[in-house]
Symmetry: D2
Subunit: 458 residues, 4 copies
């Protein structure tokens, strides 16, 4: 830092333009501020810091807004972590309604600088070059984006921000203010949770209990009844569990997938989560079945990283067990029953093969208002480049399985060499990838008459 | 993922809006594309992927530009890591001139969408609300920003992107195209290397040799002569070394600081880096002296994280050695000789106390064209909230120390309770924080007449 | 290894005297063995190795004895780990009765060499010097001791040997053959589990589930009802759990102790293991209470390492929480009810203070046939240098607590500065260390008349 | 511990028979000791402990002997680690001559109990059964063996004991007292450094510098010139280094082996340790060459664990690189020149093929006075079950290589399937295993006339 070469030697050759101040050039010292600064230095600045640093007492939304404004205005480089931590202490000690009120006002209270935007717009309209566009981009950055970065400086800041966004998403009423703020969260989290920063780790019975207890809490598909059930999911030789972890949250998975090693595609969930079954030798398995994928962080809803999970797990499994030939899911069809009721109102629910057929048709053809695959699970796997391989009736007799999907489950097949083509077909032609068997089944079936549009937003 | 609760259960309730496609809504399937898609699926898509995936042969800048465009256009969710990795293989196998030519053209070849910006501008001018501003922000995002995120998906992507930016910064001529692209790198790296994501680790003689050899390579202030010298810096009980690490680069520090535990402030560097000296008991030390700070990654030039390093090290040292009373630097004054030559042209260089005095005056008063502290090391520490504590003549007799600073070194004191006030004074009033002793020294000295403006850009 | 300096360079300057052959000098090649060796090399040696290496089928005790003899006779240096592992495979696949029959005969089938002993005795009787005594020691080493060392070469050998000794201790009838063999196990394990080799680790809720589930299985004092109960023992801020681990058994504690941080000495176990209680700030605690110590390995019964556990935990706690003033147990008195019934036959069991008094008297004065403290828990803590600090009635209302100790619990105090004196008093004078309060209580009580001798072996 | 079930519940059902007292049953309190004990408790015991615990000042050999006697006599269970540590402090602060004088007297000053031996001898002569033999074994155990176990309780005790034995081995004159004591060290270390307790670890350029600097210090065969040379040994893709580590000495290897991956057997060391050579792809290598094995701990001289090192490394390499076909050494022949001078006195040293032949003859036939293979390196590898594969002239032009072996180097081949047969042949028939090529070479050569017996002790 201390040589004359500016590039290598300086921690920051732009130190004045650091994270906290880079949006607002301090400019030359402002005249006439002397008196108020003396006051600040002597008194009110101390009080400000004291208040933010103060005990973690519940706060009002107004005082939280004041604190946030203070965080944004302070030049507090080195103090950033301390002050951000203090802010979180107060925020977290406050009542949910206070927090949500604070969040709903935050964006409006810290608006973008309209004058700066106008100036950038004028420059754009004159020059229309990349620099002008970049200036536009900079001028239109929200102060809330900066606040989020400053808050991340707190120890555990990422985790606390995720909880803050969960507060936002849980607000009883999703006001425009909350939606505006949420855009900033989404942008920040999408950058931070870029899959390149995530670590894929196997979760086993030798993992810390702090990690394992989260599996019980988070499992969204086939709920885990307790520690004995959990042991059956992760300890046997023919079971695997993998999770994506972020370095800031080492004992808290972001998403995890449960895998069963089998011979051939399973036709029902009971084959997999039976309470008492002999484990098979993993070296003898032909197939790896992804039978449950669960997101863990409500505060990361909509942040895309799940896409890469299955692909990376396939890579790990292939390296460990080269004899594996097939990678597929055993998945529920959670939107099926609702769609069927709406489109075949008053008709009896079909059974057996007819049920399989109409479920496959649902997956292959039903679309939402934006033209996307209607079923959320299908949308996820097909959107990852998988294909619909098979459909099974009487495959899930749980209450939820019957209620949502009439007991139907399906297999999506992950053939890595076909993923790109499948995706192109889906996104360019709107065609769902299906296996020859499903194609044949659909071809022989009479198309179900549609009563009214499937178009609905999930 | 497989229940109907959209929030918790779905890995992505916005799966179509994933990292690769979120900027461009795919919209409904485009009619009339059937033929070309068939071609793609049958042939050219394969070739495209093949080419990107191909061997790591040197490429031309044109073909690298094509590959980058392909990466941006592909729907390649699951394939992202593989394709990004393949792209880096080709890029890195290419000649430096090819790479720099590619980088120089990248931004211009992937311009922002002017029509989208115009539409967003129109909406802004009509509504002038936050949503319109957000739309402006989104519309003005550079495709290069997206490309950087996609490339980060490659294994080791972060490290490879840093090397790519180093190529950019090392280009013989910093063209507008390179500067435009660099803005995108800076934005991405500022988000990724937020200090909240960095891990402070002690580096000792029990650290991996892979880490230690980088200290030798990166030390920018008082160069390390080899492994024996390195051992003297990190192994003795009264020496410490700490570095910031990013999770993606576990054996490669971003920045490191060397610390000596002493009794009182040292007045010369020889006291610290003497070849043969008895180590003191750390429990007996009163002071921790930061005598060298070095940035390690040229590709991270200008990304602000050094500010937090010293503060966090102070925290660690206080926890380990509660008796420590003083945290300060022993720093060079690299811009002093040049400033003195310019401002006291033709005068003999003063000695002893007069030299100390004029060096302190230089630090306290010299400013660059933007009103910032002129000396880069002073700018760093004062900009962190430290104060100028003392100045010493005959403190550094190395060739560089004499040439750049006439052998003067200074102490900057980090008093955590005074940092905020120091920063306010500096940024609001333009006043440098100095100790009573330095103040007294400056008061008694006759102000040096200035020959001409200090205004110059470092 | 490859220079002429014998000390440093040679992996073994006594390579012929390696682990497998050091008891029997091979001497010069034996003449006349040519034919049988040819046979061995051509055939039977192969079969021998094959048999030992063979599949892990159940074996008879005779064939296990043959295998053991083969392991002892083979020169199998490099093959040792493989053959030892194969032996364990066969042993473990055999029925418990077969195993115990094998163990019961092992020592007799591999007797010491009486002729060698006689020769050593003769030499001793002639020279009576240290070398002759050492020769005697060597000559009287059991081949079983050597076998145990060879078996330890197998991967996981230590753990498997511990299981083998558990088989031995669980034999329905402790024959002389088993007792003779057990002496060899005890000697080997005492050397291997020297406390200097053990690692003290904190066990917390972030420990692997594989470790934690063993706590549930092994807890011998206040049983753990399941994972929720376990969580209450190890997760709260005012609870600690520490275990001794051996490097060969990284996820299997040898012994563990549960600690509660409290204010003052607890008078009843319910204060500690209450289901629902607020955790206290560890920094506010004055006392650390060891309320449960459990051995984990039946196969290590009688191997002394527990003595050092509490002392080392006290050291750790003092370093972490310097304000702690008192280290004590809350312990059951498991032999009390039986002693009372025997010595006060026909009398009603006293209550309240009278019960406390007679329990204290029992601990302080009851001895077994070898003059040792009769109560096993008292023997452990007093034998560690603790003193009897207090006795409490109505302190343990569990079925076991009432049945074995009439609900009495006591505190043993660990005052590190008094340990040596307490031990000297106990072992040289036969006096139990007691607190002034207990001394006063005992002084005022009429001595209980003894019906008949306490002398009995536990 | 606190129930009446003796097996599971008690940390020690033989607590009185712990490590410190197990050899001497305390028996009933000794009458008449009251007065002296009071004195001890009041005063002298304190002094004793104080002295041992005292500062680490240099001591005389007499006072060290007193301290050792105190350690043996104290009942110091819980205090053992502290007192053992204090003893080491004093021992290590003393002059080498004082230490060696202490060690030379230790065994004689703490003799075995002749009366106990006589009683055990009488019992043996009467009963001649296993119990009597075991009693003999116990009675003839040296108090020094017990002292070694107690000293091992100190933190770092194992390492310090190894250093103590190095003092012993370095004594200018190996007196009978030192030899007697060394037997106890050897027995203890052989039990503790059983290969089952050692951990095989790869040492690479990412290992801690604390480990790596020991390679430089310990390399005994082809010395490492510094860190750059070391890097060439461990960093390239076609180089490996493995060491055995003991859990108590995590950064200090006991023995390490350097491996080169090659195509075919190398014929000269220069092929391997060339300063500047391209690394080959490990996947393309056909052979793994062990070109240097070095013991690291002088204090572990003669303790057999090297035998297992090569076998385990072969196992690791086979798992990582299944295509490897050949595992062999490139070894010096350090005893060759001396043997040649003695047996072919006055003759010119042969060259080329004749030199190879006579070197092979030396390895295959020369024996020491105990009938063992004469060359120490040959003795090690042949004693591990390897065979002599080839001999090369002009293979090592270093000063040491020329002086000790006339530049000859040889390959020993490790064929795991032949190890047992090779060993049987060597130890039962005295025949060295040699390759067909060497056999043919020796057959065609005229036997060298022996001038006088080879019998000599190395």
């Amino acid at each position: 830092m201390m040589t004359e070469e500016p590039g290598q030697a300086l921690p920051q050759d732009k130190t004045a333009v650091n994270e906290m101040t880079r949006q607002r050039n301090p400019g030359p010292p402002r005249r006439g501020m002397r008196a108020s600064l003396d006051a600040l230095l002597g008194g009110s600045i101390g009080k400000l810091v004291e208040r933010i640093r103060g005990s973690a007492r519940p706060a009002s939304s107004d005082s939280l807004l004041d604190d946030a404004a203070a965080l944004l205005s302070l030049r507090a480089r080195a103090s950033g972590p301390t002050l951000a931590s203090a802010f979180f202490d107060r925020y977290e000690a406050s009542a949910p309604a206070v927090r949500q009120s604070f969040l709903a006002q935050l964006n409006a209270q810290n608006p973008r600088d309209a004058a700066a935007i106008d100036a950038a717009v004028a420059a754009w309209q004159q020059d229309r070059d990349d620099r002008a566009a970049a200036r536009l981009s900079e001028a239109s950055e929200s102060p809330c984006a900066r606040l989020i970065r400053v808050l991340n400086l707190a120890p555990g800041g990422t985790r606390r921000l995720i909880a803050m966004r969960a507060d936002l998403l849980n607000a009883p009423d999703m006001s425009a203010g909350l939606r505006d703020l949420d855009r900033e969260f989404e942008d920040a989290f999408s950058a931070w949770f870029n899959a390149g920063f995530l670590e894929l780790r196997r979760i086993g019975w030798d993992s810390p209990a702090t990690v394992l207890e989260r599996l019980i809490a988070y499992e969204a598909v086939h709920s885990i009844a307790g520690w004995d059930d959990l042991r059956r999911r992760v300890a046997p030789a023919d079971r695997r569990c993998y999770g994506f972890f972020h370095p800031q949250m080492a004992d808290d998975p972001l998403i995890f997938v449960e895998v069963a090693l089998t011979n051939g595609l399973p036709r029902a969930i009971a084959e997999i989560i039976a309470g008492d079954r002999p484990a098979m030798d993993p070296q003898q398995a032909s197939s790896a079945i992804f039978y449950s994928i669960s997101n863990c962080q409500e505060g990361l809803r909509g942040i895309p990283f799940g896409n890469f999970l299955i692909k990376q797990v396939v890579g790990l499994l292939k390296a460990e067990l080269p004899q594996l030939q097939q990678f597929a899911t055993l998945s529920p069809v959670p939107g099926f029953a609702r769609w069927l009721a709406r489109n075949h109102e008053g008709e009896p629910v079909p059974e057996g093969d007819a049920l399989r057929r109409i479920a496959a048709e649902y997956i292959a053809t039903a679309r939402d208002g934006r033209g996307q695959v209607l079923d959320p699970v299908a949308r996820f796997h097909l959107g990852n480049g998988a294909r619909l391989e098979a459909a099974h009736a009487n495959a899930d007799s749980s209450e939820k399985g019957l209620r949502q999907g009439h007991g139907v489950m399906v297999n999506y097949l992950y053939d890595l060499s076909a993923i790109e083509a499948n995706l192109l077909r889906l996104f360019e032609l709107g065609e769902v990838a299906i296996s020859p068997e499903v194609r044949e089944m659909l071809r022989t079936a009479k198309p179900a008459p549609r009563k009214r549009s499937d178009l609905e937003t999930q």
